[in-house]
Point group: C2
Chain length 568, copies 2
């Protein structure tokens, strides 16, 4: 599992390299960020020949370790101009692991406008023409690809918005059953993939050798302990039951649920979109509905779900907290069916639901449609589908939408719309939004589950720092953040499983150290790209406009926030 595949788009040449012994622990985000930091000019034109798109699997890829098959995708972000890593579940990293592939790197630009797939199996690697897939939305395109290459392939794919290089476009990855719904959504990486002329990456692991486990007994033992711990963990049990949507009640109570373009932190229709209601609707409707679904092989948390319509047919999978808030409460929409439709259509078009939700809310704030206008919101996605000018605006994400419409209040940092936590009410996330190497991003340093007074400034910098390091560590291993909940007493399980798989000694401290080095490398890239610590600010209105529901402003000082990167 140490093959690195480089595709030179200019020539079409595909090369193989191998990680050296010293690079054995380099995977996931540690690897994408290292490649970008070392090989990409921080000042390059984002759609130019010198930007690179890097897909990297984690250290557990190809095994059935719970939550262990996340895929990292990186590049210089078209949306933010910073370094970017966005990761997702699904079956792609699993198949990369089985095929012995640690990373896939796209370099250069095709000599002329073109659309191709990258196909990889045990026997073959090839760029294949994809012209007939041009402007094809993601669900039908995936269906067609699976028809062409078989049901068992894994697929990473962009929609029409990625092809158009729209800045809010992401990359969809197939889940365990082949749904193209696990999104590397943030940072406009779909547009970067589009600029390389790549519609999809298709991995066929049918004849793959799989991962050779160096110490199968140790792996089995640790995996068993871990799974038991997960199943006994109450908090993780709530994920299994309610999915991430369980968060709605928590943030709503804290006044942290983004509502009406971050003008409020509580939503009068919160009960209609919370985890309880989601669970109830799914279970009552039955059919293919499933409140606890696993997005990848081996996961025992199963935070994913399948949301059915009232006939029991699938509407979308998964329906997650960030989407429920950004396309829901933040747009004044308190209807799960509508949110599910919006979600499905974003997925199909290739759009990040967070930045798109932000864009729709900004269009609402500008008066294009009123808050709460369900049909209006759906119609904005029709506009994207039809590639109208208004559709182009929305697909360029919240910041550009807000700027083009002349809106004062744009809830974003470094060009990227905030996730579903008002930074005035969950101040640790405010620190993360401001300081993260990725722009406003919750997964960069999630503090909401930390035992801390979220409304108070005190301790938030330390909390964010800790979260940023831990979260980055999971991104580097290729595991879901949620796993952290099961590791409180046994962090060494993380490194034990690496030892078991790869036969190298490794400690938890070493993993933390890789995370820290990765963060510093990313920060250095950003500094070389023109970002200074004076860019580590939230928009002014969060400092001066009280959130009426949390009754707080953001008041963590900039001097304090500078300490986030005080580590070695």
């Amino acid at each position: 599992m140490n093959k690195i595949i480089r595709i030179q788009m200019e020539t079409g040449e595909i090369k193989e390299e191998y990680c050296s012994k010293e690079e054995q622990l380099l995977a996931g985000r540690a690897l994408t960020s290292k490649v970008i930091s070392e090989e990409v000019n921080p000042h390059c034109d984002v759609f130019g020949s010198h930007n690179k798109l890097v897909l990297a699997a984690g250290l557990y890829a190809g095994t059935t370790i719970s939550c262990g098959n996340r895929l990292s995708i990186g590049g210089k972000s078209p949306l933010t101009g910073t370094i970017k890593e966005s990761n997702a579940g699904g079956n792609m990293a699993y198949k990369m692991g089985k095929l012995g592939i640690r990373a896939i790197i796209f370099e250069g630009l095709p000599p002329k406008e073109s659309l191709q797939f990258l196909y990889i199996s045990e026997e073959k690697m090839a760029l294949l023409p994809a012209n007939e897939y041009k402007e094809m939305p993601i669900y039908p395109a995936t269906k067609k690809l699976r028809h062409q290459f078989g049901d068992k392939v894994g697929i990473s794919i962009i929609g029409p918005t990625g092809e158009r290089r729209s800045l809010a476009s992401g990359i969809a990855n197939t889940d365990n059953e082949g749904r193209p719904s696990r999104y590397c959504g943030r940072g406009g990486l779909g547009a970067l993939m589009g600029s390389k002329g790549i519609k999809a990456i298709v991995l066929d692991d049918s004849n793959a050798k799989g991962v050779t486990i160096e110490n199968a007994a140790l792996l089995k033992k640790t995996q068993k302990q871990l799974n038991k711990e997960i199943l006994n963990n109450e908090a993780l049990g709530r994920f299994t039951k309610y999915g991430t949507a369980g968060m709605v009640d928590i943030t709503n109570a804290l006044g942290a649920l983004p509502t009406h373009n971050f003008s409020r932190g509580a939503f009068d229709l919160a009960k209609a979109i919370n985890g309880n209601n989601l669970h109830e609707v799914i279970t009552q409707r039955g059919g293919v509905g499933n409140p606890s679904h696993s997005c990848m092989p081996g996961c025992v948390i199963r935070c994913s779900n399948v949301y059915p319509d009232d006939q029991g047919k699938e509407k979308v999978s998964p329906l997650e907290y960030e989407t429920i808030s950004l396309l829901g409460s933040n747009c004044g929409i308190g209807n799960l069916d509508v949110i599910a439709d919006l979600n499905y259509r974003c997925n199909n078009l290739g759009l990040d639901t967070i930045d798109t939700g932000g864009a729709i809310a900004l269009a609402m704030e500008a008066g294009v449609i009123p808050f709460g206008d369900e049909l209006g919101a759906l119609n904005l996605l029709n506009e994207v589908e039809q590639n109208t000018w208004l559709g182009r605006i929305i697909a360029s994400g919240g910041v550009r939408t807000g700027q083009i419409l002349g809106v004062r209040r744009i809830p974003a940092v470094k060009g990227q719309i905030m996730a579903a936590y008002d930074p005035r009410a969950i101040k640790g996330l405010g620190v993360t939004y401001a300081t993260s190497t990725m722009g406003a991003d919750h997964t960069a340093g999630q503090t909401v589950r930390m035992p801390i007074e979220h409304h108070h400034a005190k301790g938030q910098v330390e909390a964010s720092q800790k979260a940023q390091i831990t979260n980055t560590m999971h991104d580097c291993i290729g595991t879901c953040l949620f796993l952290n909940g099961a590791l409180a007493n046994h962090p060494e399980w993380l490194s034990d499983m690496i030892t078991a798989i790869h036969g190298i000694t490794c400690s938890y401290e070493e993993l933390l150290s890789i995370a820290k080095q990765t963060l510093l490398l990313e920060r250095d890239f950003n500094q070389r790209a023109g970002f200074s610590d004076q860019d580590d600010h939230l928009p002014e209105f969060f400092y001066i406009e009280e959130n009426p529901d949390s009754k707080t402003v953001f008041d963590v000082s900039h001097t304090e926030m500078k300490k986030v990167f005080d580590f070695e």
Copy 2:
């Protein structure tokens, strides 16, 4: 001439202050930048209550010194996020001088969405409702205002695009005859004025006392010498004859005339849009046409013109080099009549011709319309007029247009489209674009008339540094850059005239020192706003794509460019 007027938009209160003795030399850009630097939070929301719009007259305001009545307008730029000063000729600063006003500062936001004028005469200062002017284009609005307040008033005004807070909107100022055509175009200051709910500033100097000249004999003598020098200066004579359009042949020969979205530096239709042809068309058509027109009282250079249609009726005034290139060659349009129409319509809508020309060219590069499509270009301005979504995109300037359309090559620095000099062929301007405190801007440090090899990297940093300091000095005094041509042997005339008017001793060195301090203050503001010297870069394609006409790339090293601000 030392009154400072502050308008608090929240309360409608208008206050007067007076410059202290120590501040007597503080005027023009030195004053706008000082106010912004000291009073505006660099991280403020650009359309929020903490941004300010500052108008400042120069040190010669209210006199008839040639080129001595430029108006500076500043704020934190909605387009670039940097500090911004944009200046223009016309009669506004003259009237401010006569009324004893050095600066007008708009603070805060009106409590509700509203549209007002600021009216100032010797007897009265008032905010007046302007609701009936809502969305009214600039020419009819100015006509109506002059009807309401008399033909002699001076007016600074925004168009519908400023009201809509579109990022490419500027502020128009009346010229000597009351045409609203002298533009503070760059940096989106029209949007900032729009955010304050101010449609226009109307100055009535009919009963004004005028400027008390401390040493009339010295002023008269120096003015006479200066005017003689101007009239004997061959280079300035070309300005009088051809206007700034004389530049077309020079840049075209150097391969520096932006053509087809900066993909070429020479235009096959250059002869149709050069100074000779402009002069010929104007003189042949006669009527109100005038090849050498003065935009303000007292100017003997008269670089302005009145461009007539084939019936001898006015099409637009002035038609200038930057516009001819950005709306002309850069869009593949080689027809002065069409360029004049585009210019008129930009003026009328309140748009900066440079950023709008850049946006149209980027729409052409994206295939919205082909290069050279004259009707298509005019139609894009129809879209702006009708406030369609495509119109909103164009009115947001070149960078957002390029980003929304997914274009790779966006010729801009810090969010602002480059002026009409390809930086690969006039490398001193490349240095200015990269390092200026204002984003890509030619007036920030114009090197094209310097005796230097424009194609070579050597000496360009020194040239840009010198130009940036000299140009800033003129912005601080409130004089046209062109004046510099007449000062080669007598720079002291500049300070002598200040002594004559204000009765304070002042040297040329002191003026240079104010310029340097202003630049450093601006740079400091930008650094506090998040800009580092790593932001002082051109887009990558200028470094790697050879300009086929100059056969050069931009190759001044970043390390060299850092030296631009090495002065005290």
